[in-house]
Amino acid sequence: MVGTDTAGKLKRKNRLYRLRQELQLHAMLLPGMILLTVFVIFPIIGVYMAFTQYRPSPDTGFFRALFQSRFVGFRFFNDIFTRPDFTQILFNTVYIALLKIIIQTVLGITLALLLNELRSGALKKTFQTVYFIPFFLSWTLLGSIVTEMFSLDGIVNKLFGQEISFLASNDWFRAILISTDVWKNMGYQAVYFLAAISCIDPTQYEAASVDGANYWQQCRHITLPGIMPIIILVSVLNIGNVMNAGFEQILVLYNPLVYKTGDIIDTVAYRIGFLTPSLDQYSLGTAIGLFKSVISCVFFLGSYAFAAKKLNYSIM
């Protein structure tokens, strides 16, 4: 009698204890989730702007004004798709992004392999450190440096005895975007692949050298296959970036003379939304941004899903 009573009490106490424990966990998640809801989920609801004639009003809040504004369906998307420069912008975006991804990955692997051949560990470390410097700096600073160096009376023109205004030339602008981006990120890429190389079992190399394999053969038959899974994984995950041509970099470096070759979806959305006053500037800017976000999201989810399914990749 007494026994069952205490057991029941204990059980209830236990349940209460577990509830209290769980509540602590929810409390911990609360601040982060509120921030995500406000700064990520609310703006996602806000993309409804792309489908309405949104007019900001000083006395009503954003969402009230938004849901009171007139629904126009896909009209703004139509406006965007029929822009004369639309195909050019889309082409620029994908072209710049793809070239950046491909060159960076190939150069990263090559650099890692070359660094791996160095016999002196100190030299290897020093090189890595130097390659890494631009990676930690912002595009404002790098952009100032690049603008300075490539300007008409800058060091590049002086060194080669030329007078080319690189950043105002449609022949050069994309090349500069891609090469400076590769310059910024190559250290990161190299270190990433070098980390993968360092995980290869060293006994494999010993066995190979006993069998008389030379360095080139070791590189081809041990190192490359050894990091192949990482190469494939990185390439697959990079597919998600095909719409990210580098908004901040381009914003710092471009000017109206090179809109033809350097304008991408992000910069157009920014200029429409913030710099070109018109009645529908917000809705139009949101529409073009949304167009990019949706395609980008499809590619991202696709590449991650593929990586998770076929390559055993998991984020968490």
Partner: protein, 307 residues
């Protein structure tokens, strides 16, 4: 056993190399060295330029031309530059502290696998949404503005306080904390807050250092948010520098310049002055750079080698 085998087979440095191999190693070292110069040269050039006399661009390589401190003395007398610098420091410190608190708190519950947590799927769904989709520039701007955050430091700090990519780094580290440690604390009656503070945080200092450094660097480097959310007297340093560059570009393209424009163009177009400002903005990054690189590679390794 394995170690002794490796030691025996490791080639001593005076190991006789074949001639093609020597040629390769020399060429390789030279190639990597020239790439290293390519990475370092722009910064050395910048430094030299900032100590040169006005408008010496193009003539300076790595040695200043007619060494002078003019650019720096001019900057010292410029309150705008310093208030921008101070703004950047404020946002970096406040933003990093806040982000760390929020992310450590959120990472802990999500790192527990055996624990009961209703709505875990909802939490994860929100995180994943934030990683792969965004409302875009304009809706985000509208939300922040309608919250009354325009021209307040919170507009720069709050949206960046919860970064799910960094949080995942923390989650993965938290999972490596031995379960026995947490169990024994639990038996002694410790709640989750206590376990997090007394056991999990002290045993994941490396990951926390990584996140702190990355967040601080991110804050220091952000400029676009400052440009759209702040008015010009409250620009952080990077935004201030971007604005100089942007104004200069606009002035150069302006075909009929007024006398004022020409005057402004003279100061803005001064490459030594710009170099000095950029160089000062680089210094804080250089101060944390050795640590940042070390922890960054550590964090990277975790991602690359994750089984």
């Amino acid at each position: 056993m394995k170690v002794t085998v490796r030691k025996k087979n490791k080639k001593p440095l005076h190991y006789k190399l074949s001639i093609p191999r020597r040629i390769f190693l020399t060429v390789n070292t030279l190639l990597l060295l020239s790439l290293a110069l390519l990475c370092a040269f722009p910064f050395l050039n910048l430094l030299a330029l900032s100590f040169s006399e006005s408008n010496a661009a193009g003539m300076v390589t790595v040695i200043p031309k007619n060494f002078t401190l003019n650019a720096y003395t001019y900057l010292i007398n410029k309150p705008q530059f310093f208030s921008a610098f101070w703004m950047s420091i404020k946002r970096a410190v406040l933003g990093t502290a806040l982000a760390l608190a929020v992310m450590v708190l959120a990472a802990y519950p999500l790192s527990l696998t055996g624990e009961r947590l209703h709505g875990r799927r909802v939490y994860i769904a929100i995180c994943i949404t934030s990683m792969f989709f965004s409302g875009g520039l304009i809706p985000t701007f509208m939300v922040i503005k309608s919250l009354g955050l325009y021209n307040k430091i919170w507009a720069l700090v709050l949206p960046q306080a919860m970064n799910c990519w960094s949080m995942i780094l923390l989650i993965n580290f938290f999972r490596k904390v031995p379960a026995e440690l947490k169990e024994s604390a639990k038996i002694e009656g410790a709640g989750h807050f206590r376990i997090l503070l007394n056991i999990v945080v002290p045993s994941s200092t490396a990951s926390i250092a990584t996140v702190v450094l990355l967040t601080a660097i991110q804050h220091w480097n952000s400029w676009f948010d400052g440009y759209i959310y702040m008015s010009s007297e409250n620009y952080p340093l990077q935004t201030y520098i971007y604005n100089l560059l942007d104004t200069l570009k606009a002035l150069q393209q302006n075909t009929n310049k007024t006398a004022e424009d020409l005057e402004l163009l003279k100061t803005l177009g001064d490459s030594t002055l710009r170099s000095a400002q950029v160089f000062i903005a680089i210094i804080p990054i250089m101060l944390v750079y050795p640590m940042a690189q070390k922890y960054f590679i550590k964090g990277l390794l975790l991602g690359a080698v994750k089984e």
